[in-house]
């Protein structure tokens, strides 16, 4: 049971069998340990997460899990100070009445064993209502990976309760902003989904914008200005180094890059004589293929989840609207017909929705529509809300929200997330002002 491929990556060892089952019927008329996210209303699931035993890091792991679950809006983490049973053991059945009486529907316990430069973490999720184990897993990794292990456990709990894949073991790339409005420093940063492990990918000497992850998370593409008024160009950079490559050397501006789902291509806008069209570049061979050819602005392209189509925005009909075409270009058709302008379309990883920014007379909005343009719904609105990006499970969006500037001072801007029912919006912590988030896929295990 030793990891073979990469010792840095957490490795799931085993599925823990049910510990001694406590007999006892389900308590009626209580909160349940399952949740149907598609229902119009539901109560957050009350869940008790006990500090993991065996090592000091156990308490930190529990705190990360609490934070993840509480922040996603579907759970309510019960304060540990309310816990009655204190002598709980990670491998034997809890005293269910103690947990029922504090209103818990779920109970998470775990144990950490460290030694030999290794860390082993077991956890169990108990269905308190029914009185049996809901899930239990064991992981092995290096001690430095404890945060990732905590996120992976939170994902397992999320999946068990909602039936959907989780999104806690992910990263977010974004544009970190600082300084005065007319000389603002904008550089690319990457952090864990919960705001931890923040680090900067570009040095901030020139403006860098619109970071996007490759499907393997190994690389990002983004746009950056050149030194000495060089035009903005698209760069490809490994997330683990500061080395970057220019993705095509064009006389004009190239911008709005995005990877294809298989990572072999990047679609982007290239402008010539003031006119922006869409192009696709083969990442390895750097062959360039033109996808649109109109006298209009064609930009913000995004592949469909299966890579067969591209959605983008264009003002070819007089105002910014959304269009869908085949991934090789051609067959363009407009899909947005509501009031206002539509921009930054992003295809859901599950293929059921397209999220977008909408600009109306009153302000900005973040919305979703079906991929044929029907069933439009606005989820968030404000003075400035822009640039949605999907969590890998296609059930949560992140975007940025800005406040008006006044008295020569730039309004603050930050990252927010919202689930696609629009019920639960919260700010994502960042060290400073932040915009243009890009949510990564789940980190490969």
């Amino acid at each position: 049971m030793i990891t073979k491929s990469n010792p840095m990556l957490p490795r799931r060892l085993t599925i823990l069998g049910g510990a001694a089952l406590a007999a006892g019927a389900a308590a009626p008329a209580r909160a349940q340990l399952t949740i149907d996210m598609t229902r119009p209303t539901f109560e957050p699931v009350p869940i008790a997460i006990v500090d993991f035993s065996g090592d000091r890091v156990g308490a930190q792991i529990a705190e990360v899990i609490r934070n993840d679950l509480q922040n996603c809006g579907l759970f309510r983490s019960i304060s540990p100070s309310a816990f009655i049973q204190r002598d709980i053991d990670a491998h034997s059945a809890p005293r269910f009445p103690d947990w029922r009486s504090i209103g818990a529907a779920g109970l998470v316990v775990g144990q950490v064993q460290s030694g030999g430069g290794n860390i082993k973490v077991d956890f169990r999720l108990w269905d308190v209502v029914v009185g049996q184990q809901a899930t239990g897993l064991s992981f092995n990794s290096q001690p430095g990976n404890w945060r990732r292990l905590a996120h992976i456990i939170a994902d397992a709990i999320y999946k068990r309760v909602t039936g959907e894949d989780g999104y806690f073991d992910t990263r977010v790339a974004y544009v970190s902003e600082s300084g005065p409005g007319n000389a603002r420093v904008k550089r690319i940063a990457i952090m864990d989904q919960d705001g931890a492990n923040n680090r900067y990918i570009t040095d901030g000497r020139t403006i860098a914008l619109t970071p996007r992850f490759s499907p393997t998370l190994q690389e990002i593409v983004y746009m950056a200005y050149g030194e000495d008024r060089g035009p903005p160009r698209v760069y490809l950079q490994s997330v683990d180094s500061s080395r970057r490559e220019l993705l095509g050397n064009f006389p004009g501006m190239s911008f709005a890059p995005r990877f294809s789902p298989d990572g072999t291509k990047v679609v982007m806008s290239i402008s010539a004589d003031g006119n922006s069209d869409l192009y696709e570049m083969d990442v390895r061979g750097r062959a360039l293929r033109r996808l649109t050819n109109t006298p209009a602005i064609d930009t913000s392209p995004c592949y469909s989840n299966d890579g067969s189509q591209i959605v983008f925005n264009s003002d070819r009909g007089g105002s910014q609207q959304l269009y869908v075409m085949g991934a090789g270009g051609g067959g363009e058709r407009r899909i947005s017909f509501g009031e206002g302008r539509y921009a930054t379309p992003v295809w859901s990883p599950r293929g059921d929705y397209i999220a977008f920014t909408k600009i109306g007379a009153g302000g900005f909005g973040i919305g979703v529509m079906r991929t044929d343009g029907s069933g439009e719904r606005l989820l968030a609105s404000g003075f400035l809300v822009e640039g949605p990006t999907w969590a890998p499970n296609g059930r949560v969006l992140m975007f940025f929200r800005g406040n008006p500037s006044s008295g020569g001072r730039t309004g603050s801007v930050g990252l927010f997330q919202i689930d696609i029912t629009g019920r639960f919006e919260r700010q994502v912590p960042t060290p400073g002002d932040a915009s243009d988030p890009a949510w990564s896929p789940l980190i490969p295990q």
Binding site: S276, P404, S405, G411
Partner: protein, 153 residues
């Protein structure tokens, strides 16, 4: 509506020559402090920027006057290559505004080329909504931000 606006600007062009020379005279009369042919002269007496309507890249009547003056000045002082910066207000999305800024810069460039400035002398760059001047979130600030700025190098 748009078409009408564009037509109006075309007809206004006929009156252009008289207007601009008049303005230029008053402008140069007002300034005494800057050296003719300097960057300061260009900014102060010629005007380094033109403004655009919302979501538009058509050079307006006031912009034509400014660009006519710029062309005259650049023909006189031929040692400056220029870069035209295109900018937008904050009421658009980042990527679209980069493209719109480029379109605005290019509109100003084409105008100068049509006035006889060699194309090789004029570069363009778009800053989208990333470099507001002034910083502000009201109609007045937005109107000033929808601009193309001719920078001497």
């Amino acid at each position: 509506m748009r078409l009408f606006k564009a037509l109006a600007t075309v007809t206004a062009m006929v009156l252009l020559a008289a207007c601009s020379s008049e303005q230029q005279q008053t402008a140069s009369a007002a300034s005494t402090t800057v050296t003719p042919g300097s960057v300061g002269d260009f900014r102060q007496n010629v005007g380094d920027r033109v403004f655009f309507d919302t979501d538009m890249s058509t050079i307006r009547e006031d912009g034509r006057q400014t660009l006519n003056r710029q062309a005259e000045w650049l023909k006189k002082y031929t040692n400056y290559p220029v870069t035209i910066e295109g900018h937008c207000d904050e009421r658009g999305t980042r990527e679209y505004n980069l493209a719109l800024g480029e379109r605005r810069a290019n509109a100003a460039r084409q105008y100068l080329i049509a006035q006889g400035i060699p194309a090789s002398r004029i570069k363009t760059i778009s800053y989208g909504k990333e470099r507001p001047d002034p910083v502000g979130s009201d109609e007045a600030a937005w109107a000033r931000n929808r601009r193309a700025v001719t920078e001497l190098q």
